[in-house]
Assembly symmetry: C3
């Protein structure tokens, strides 16, 4: 049933061309813009506090990514998030590196107090830190936790009143009641920067064309994991992450409901 | 006649290696640097207000791009623009997203009051907003206008006392009297981020080696559209915008006066 | 002997996965993250002054790159550099564009007064400016100098009490006593942006797993030059810098101690 709903979302994204406003980091901002375009959305990346609320008025979804936050950007994130809440469009929050420094963890908690987040997407240690766990986030990598990823997703979703998307060997998505896991993926997705950030952009595109944000979250996450799997098959032994990055973007671009339905493995 | 002048410009760029100072956005800044290098220029991207005037002293052209402006960057843009005016080097202005928010539109108008812009490059709705039209700029996309693109280019050039370059299905360049249109291009140029921004960089490279900025504007715009057309032919059905981006950069790099003269279709 | 030590470093990087904290420019930040991942390190790019010292606590090496510095970023660089000194991890300093403007030159000198730099990596004119020479740095390009590159490397290393790495036709590395030169390379490395910045990231990865920073500097520099040479052989006549960039990242990813030992030409 979820599969049929998601299949329909591909067409909606291509037809409605959702505008996704990003306030994101400087490392992967270009990748996020191209991933948004690849799936059929339209990216905008304004960050000045003087205009973010106006830009949200035009947008269908908002992505907030903590990768390179500072005070100024953070203020814009809160302003944009509140404008998105007021308008009723989904806010996708990517708590990059939360748990690595007190600054990040505190800002993330502050953000959750000021903005209603629709979907949180992170790795396990980031999401664990977000709900108060003592995760061993090492820089922006995931660490090792004392909780199963299924429980973590469910607890985080319930506690934060949001949809939780946890990237990992199995990706796990929960709305607090249901749990869906995705078997697709490839280890090379962890060997290039930006795959997490781009996943948030993809989720935003899907959530910008439906009110069923749980399906949208599954759609965005699984497109990345399936595209990553397909990109791996498209490269040769004498190629590496340069070619892989390019093929990954190709596979996101080529993805449609048919390729998706045939390739995705939901648990 | 214009064609012969432009053919000569390719050699001049490769021989003189113009230094192009950019104050631009964080989304496509890497693409702009590589496009500048690809055509034979040399990019520099300093933004601190303490040094932009000194950097302009070394430069042959200045690109100002509004993609991710904030107050601090804007102040540097005005400082750099005025230094460029004083030195007599061309200022290429890319009013990204103007018309989308009052902040952007007001800043663009303010910029035009403080700096003499040599060449404006935008899509139709951005240029329309710049001359006071009520365009339906949606994020950073072009909308639908109540004026022909030919009239818009001519009016904008006359009103702003500049050369106007409008990217679109047909690209349109006017100096207020003459109008040239370019038939080359490919729809995929609109499906990756940065092609507009890179066009401004290319125009800057050409305008940095000649006083004939009208020809330089046609040269830069047509290199992008022709390279985009050639890149499309170089990709396969099972490839997408990842490969296309790479091939586009290849084609800019490979472009010379012969390939250009044989491929360009000026109207 | 140095060759054997460097061969061992490849394995150490892949096994220890050093965390490299970067405070770098907005132009090539994505390239630096991917180069770090390609060789086996883990990148983090936090810049807020409120967290850089905490991030350094998790890191194995720190890269400071002046590409797009402003006052705010500079303050974070000093804070992070001092935290790295306190912890005893290596600080790799890339003085991009120093010599081009008084602002850059003054900030670089100030930085050297406040932070003990372990390894300086630049082109000849940048390093010359750093030790008080009147180099003709043109934007961020190297100029022409009145000193041999060997003498420059040795003098800079001695004067700055650091390891000096000078990229060029021959790359030159000195610790003030010994000088090693690298014959590998390709002219296309100068036709894409970011190869210098990525070299600093590679050096940081190697220096994060050893106390022999001289070997680490040779390792990082030679990986870039050899990868650049190999990438050139991997592209066709009808390809350009788009494909070259991709292949360069592939070659960094594929590099191991065997490929390196067979291909590197140290003088």
């Amino acid at each position: 049933m979820i599969k049929q709903e998601i299949k329909d979302l591909f067409l909606k994204v291509k037809n409605q061309n959702p505008l996704v406003h990003h306030i994101t980091n400087n490392v992967t901002i270009n990748d996020c813009a191209n991933a948004t375009l690849a799936i059929g959305g339209s990216p905008v990346m304004a960050t000045s506090i003087e205009e973010v609320a106006d830009m949200v008025k035009l947008a269908n979804a908002l992505v907030i990514n903590f990768g390179t936050i500072d005070d100024e950007t953070y203020a814009s994130m809160v302003r944009a998030g509140q404008a998105a809440n007021k308008k009723g469009i989904p806010v996708i929050f990517d708590p990059v590196g939360v748990g690595a420094t007190p600054f990040r963890t505190n800002r993330a908690k502050d953000f959750l107090e000021h903005v209603n987040v629709s979907i949180v997407r992170g790795n396990a240690s980031e999401v664990f830190a977000l709900i108060g766990g003592e995760a061993s986030t090492r820089g922006v990598d995931s660490g090792t936790l004392s909780i199963s990823v299924r429980d973590l997703a469910k607890n985080a979703a319930a506690k934060l009143q949001t949809i939780a998307v946890i990237s990992g060997e199995l990706d796990t998505i929960s709305n607090g009641n249901q749990i869906v896991q995705i078997e697709n993926g490839d280890i090379l997705l962890t060997r290039i920067t930006g795959t997490g950030c781009m996943t948030a952009s993809l989720i935003a595109c899907f959530s910008g064309v439906t009110e069923d944000w749980f399906s949208a979250a599954i759609a965005g996450m699984s497109v990345m994991s399936l595209a990553g799997e397909r990109a791996r098959k498209a490269i040769q032994d004498n190629e590496g992450i340069g070619t892989y990055r390019m093929k990954l973007m190709d596979e996101i671009f080529l993805m449609d409901n048919q390729i998706w339905a045939e390739g995705v493995r939901l648990l």
